[in-house]
């Protein structure tokens, strides 16, 4: 299985929050290759279970979210232009001159255009646009649009994924398809090791709109350890060094109240032992990832967060270094392999 090619394929697939079923079968198929059992739950989370060899195996849950940010049809005006709302955090400024796909009864190409410069007032050209002032042009008249498009249809960004230099990849939705690939890389590695714990690989839904898939799947699975895999901000010239991480220098391990201190200590020890480069992030509160939901499921779950540095998050040109994904997958596999015996000693506060 060429995971880099699969990442390109996932990046091109479409499935906005709440509509992950549009492409989740692709993930189910791959999970089947590495897991003993694959199922999905009430909200559509895809869960692959790879059994461990202990008598009473502990449960480790890996979570990466399948959903991407996008848009949704709010209204169709009398000229056939479509107004829309955002699903998840969409920066309105990326919408100008953007190509989108409206998923109606059939997929339609749509253009979000901008008011021509010579018709703008001076103020307008300096201000960021607002979503409510934009509309999508599908090149059809009202009657035709109404036949194909309904209120509530989802809209995704049309974006090619590209290979850049040095194993860098750019595309839409690498947040968090990169995380899904990390999980697959981990499952791949685990095929070569004996591991005691049962691994629950979860492709979660609706993270971008409130960690919803993680809330219900962590309740349902009730693991002994939960590990979320998401993306974090990659360093760029216009962002402060304090809030960003270098791409290509390894995955990021988070410290802070959302993370179990014994687990973050152990995973860093393993990284050091096996010379896997990593970076450290400190988050004083809500990490904004599935980890925040998992930590307080039921009677509480010791949680870890592993992130891939990603430039230009929530744009159609998200960019990362694939080496970080491979290293993250390997680190996770080693961590799982080294979970032996009862976890009480490891986890005691």
């Amino acid at each position: 299985m060429n995971t880099q090619e699969f990442l390109h394929s996932l990046s091109r697939s479409t499935g906005v929050s709440g509509h992950e079923y549009m492409y989740s079968k692709e993930i189910e198929r791959v999970f089947h290759d590495f897991c003993d059992e694959v199922r999905s739950d009430e909200l559509g989370n895809v869960i692959g279970i790879k059994k461990g060899n202990a008598e009473n195996p502990k449960k480790v849950m890996l979570a990466a979210h399948m959903d991407e940010i996008g848009l949704m049809v709010k209204n169709i005006d009398e000229k056939g232009f479509i107004s829309f709302v955002n699903i998840g955090g969409v920066d309105p400024r990326i919408l100008l001159a953007q190509e989108v796909i409206v998923h109606g009864k059939e997929d339609l190409l749509g253009i979000i255009g901008a008011k021509p410069p010579h018709l703008q007032t001076e103020n307008e050209s300096n201000q960021a646009v607002k979503i409510e002032d934009l509309s999508i042009d599908v090149g059809l008249d009202y009657e035709k649009v109404k036949e194909i498009v309904s209120i509530g249809d989802t809209i995704t960004f049309k974006a090619e994924s590209k290979k850049l230099l040095n194993n860098y990849i750019s595309g839409k939705s690498l947040d968090d398809r990169a995380g899904i690939i990390v999980i697959i890389e981990c499952l791949k590695e685990l095929k070569n090791f004996r591991h005691e714990a049962d691994v629950f690989a979860v492709a979660t839904v609706q993270e971008e709109v409130g960690l919803r898939g993680a809330i219900v799947s962590s309740y349902h699975i009730n693991p002994d350890i939960g590990i979320a895999i998401d993306v974090c901000h990659g360093e760029t010239p216009d962002a402060s060094k304090e809030d960003t991480f270098s791409t290509g220098k390894g995955p990021v391990i988070t410290l802070g109240p959302n993370i179990h201190p014994a687990l973050s200590k152990k995973i860093r020890e393993i990284a050091n032992e096996y010379n896997i480069a990593y970076q450290t992030d400190v988050d004083p509160g809500n990490t904004g990832t599935d980890a925040w939901a998992i930590q307080v499921a039921r009677s509480g779950i010791p949680t870890l967060l592993l992130s891939i540095p990603l430039r230009y998050m929530h744009t159609t040109v998200e960019t990362l270094c694939f080496n970080d994904i491979k290293n993250a997958g390997r680190l996770l596999a080693l961590f799982i392999q080294k979970l032996e015996g009862g976890l009480e000693e490891l986890l005691c506060c």
Partner: protein, 327 residues
């Protein structure tokens, strides 16, 4: 209509829903098999069946005001209960549970409407001083807005159509159901306006297979309104998304298909901001596929909300058919 009027005019801000609850129990007592009140005050009723568990939810509470301080001149300071708009509150009449009526005044000259703040308002119950006021009202007492019930052609306007209209619909569905295989739970929830609280705990108790909440939603059919596809009178709305939920395709399609099969007009709804009980229900335990039936309503959270009774009648019809359908 009498029932709807009584429902809307009953006192019941969040956390103080008991009078609404008593009214509902009296009305539907003979039409359900079980009636329970849970620790938070949710009214959980059941029409027993052997099939799948289907939970319907409408909230009993309305927005209101909580008295936090009585000054020496007898004026009452308050906090909001739920989303109270400062613009809708100016010079409105409010009523306490014991019937005392007051007016909301403003404690300084209003230069600019943009600066209007709730904490600069006070309730005037006509008391001359603190002692007189304390004979009528205490700290911790709660008031609802006064908003008479009127009908005009097909339209009804009143305070608290959010969500007494939902309660009304559920009560009518309870009375209309003929045969049903599903195990039906009709839950009248508390504290929705404070964050979908009653829905969360009642869904935990009931643990249904599917859920549908009935609540109000915004419209796009008034002058210069923001573009929104909903119009009064074009049918009850099947919600696709709001801030609290992206409805489950199975439940959404169930509602749409049932409407189509029975020639019931319906609209599709995408709401930018706002949440309903299903937002809490669908995230309970391991997840519960949920949807929402919305009644288009103008002027939500004002003392004169407005709905079209055709939408309501069609809503009742649609939900009754869904309740009777074997899932």
């Amino acid at each position: 209509m009498e029932l709807l009027k009584k429902l809307t005019q009953t006192f019941g801000p969040s956390g103080n829903e008991e009078m609404v609850r008593e009214l509902i129990i009296k009305e539907i007592r003979d039409f359900v098999d079980e009636i329970n009140i849970d620790p938070l005050g949710n009214l959980i009723t059941r029409k027993k069946g052997n099939g799948k568990k289907l939970m319907f939810a409408a909230h009993m509470d309305e927005i209101g005001l909580l008295v936090t301080y009585i000054d020496k001149d007898g004026f009452l300071r308050f906090s909001n209960i739920g989303g109270v708009s400062q613009y809708y509150s100016l010079f409105q009449k409010v009523m306490f549970k014991n019937g005392v009526v007051g007016v909301i005044g403003y404690n300084e000259k209003i230069e600019n409407m943009k600066d209007l703040k709730l904490d600069k308002m006070y309730i005037d119950i006509g008391a001359s001083n603190k002692e007189e006021a304390e004979k009528m009202v205490n700290i911790g007492d709660v008031a609802c807005f006064l908003g008479e019930f009127h009908t005009n052609m097909n339209k009804v306007s009143s305070k608290a159509l959010d969500d007494r209209i939902g309660c009304f619909i559920l009560m009518e569905v309870i009375k209309s159901i003929q045969k049903h295989e599903n195990d039906l739970y009709f839950v009248f929830t508390v504290q929705e306006e404070l964050g979908l609280r009653g829905a969360r705990t009642s869904a935990y108790s009931v643990d249904p297979d599917y859920a549908i909440a009935i609540d109000v939603t915004d419209t796009g059919d008034t002058p210069e309104s923001k573009p929104m596809a909903l119009k009064l009178g074009k049918g009850p709305a099947v919600k696709v998304k709001d801030s609290s939920i992206i409805t489950h395709p199975f439940v959404r399609n169930l509602m749409i298909d049932t409407a189509k099969e029975n020639n019931i007009p319906y609209q599709l709804e995408v709401l930018e901001r706002g949440g309903t009980d299903s937002g809490a229900i669908h995230l309970t335990k391991g997840g519960i596929p949920s949807g929402v039936l919305s009644i288009s309503t103008r002027y939500i959270h004002s003392p004169c909300e407005m709905v079209d009774m055709d939408d309501v009648k069609n809503g009742i019809k649609l939900l009754t058919l869904i309740a009777e359908k074997k899932l």
